[in-house]
Subunit: 200 residues, 2 copies
């Protein structure tokens, strides 16, 4: 198995790319305590999208980790998680956006956001912002209390922590280095993305 | 305030309708222990849709109840919950579908589903199945354990339990009487839907 591509995603930016069925996508937190937002669409038909609702439903847990399958809205497997050195990720929250910084933090001026990063990264693939689903927020440390309240704590990821996913169909993928300081223990940091697989 | 419309949604069926800003939508569980799946789209621009990810994010809880706002993917308020006699609803799970009955229960033959009910009900409004987001599952009694595992128990709704929502924009709405026996204490039952507001 060879490395096919490796992207260094600078803090508060994103990347979009194609992934072939059977290839592996490794999301690496190079410095630790950094969240990465992941969305995906069918490459053949981009109206098929990674669905938090289906993935949570079929796994019967909000903490998807090694062995779990991430499903599309059409209930097709999109990814299988084959390695996870952290084990706690969030699939509840929408990507941070200009509006979320205003609603949650009262920030009126410009602030980088995962929504903008993903919209820019996926635009060349014909995917508009209105079609971005709830992302799989890797390394995000969100806990649900018995009351239902959600608490965000610093990510449990250490420098070099990874999640590796196998693509179960041909995909268009977007990854954003999360742009909300509060989710990343105060500082937004980069994310590394590696694609690997067989080369013919 | 007058009743504008009232729909009796038979067990394992759905309904689609328009709702004007300021009107009230009351979802009634006439027999008790019955879930109702709710999705919504902007009437002016149906590419705007009710977002579980934004609603959970801004409310900071998975249990949305009286006083909480349900937001669109564009972070616009779509509904405010103005009355809730139950207080526990689910916003995590996708609508049950032919595929979900196969994946979760091994059912290969036809089974009615909320996905089919919503797709049929919203087709006349130009909304296709691929655009159905994770619904707000009223009265669904899903609990998240500290491990992240989700447990479904019979709904806490009694005969006549209601949730009343105020529309914060003009909407196209779909409601399905949940078609999964296991979520409804073994029997799928009807749901009543009432629209009320000022008449000129």
């Amino acid at each position: 198995m060879a490395i096919i591509a490796r992207y260094h995603v600078e803090a508060q930016t994103g990347v979009g790319f194609r992934l072939q069925q059977g290839q592996f996508l490794t999301i690496i937190d190079p410095q630790g305590e950094q969240v990465a937002d992941l969305v995906a669409f069918g490459a053949v038909n981009t109206t098929e999208w990674l669905s938090s609702g289906r993935s949570i439903d079929y796994s019967e847990t909000i903490y998807l980790t090694t062995g779990h399958v991430l499903y599309s809205n059409r209930s097709s497997p999109m990814f299988t998680i084959v390695e996870d050195t952290v084990g706690k990720h969030d699939f509840l929250f929408a990507a941070c956006s200009p509006e979320s910084f205003w609603i949650l933090d009262g920030i009126q001026g410009y602030h980088p956001s995962c929504f903008e990063n993903l919209e820019k990264s996926l635009g060349p693939f014909g995917i508009t912002g209105d079609r971005l689903p709830t992302p799989f927020n890797l390394f995000m440390n969100a806990s649900v209390l018995p009351s239902g309240q959600i608490k965000i704590a610093p990510p449990l990821s250490q420098p070099g922590s990874i999640v590796r996913l196998r693509a179960e169909m041909d995909l268009v993928v977007g990854v954003s280095a999360c742009s909300t300081e509060a989710c990343n223990n105060g500082t937004c940091k980069p994310i590394d993305v590696e694609i690997s697989g067989e080369t013919s």
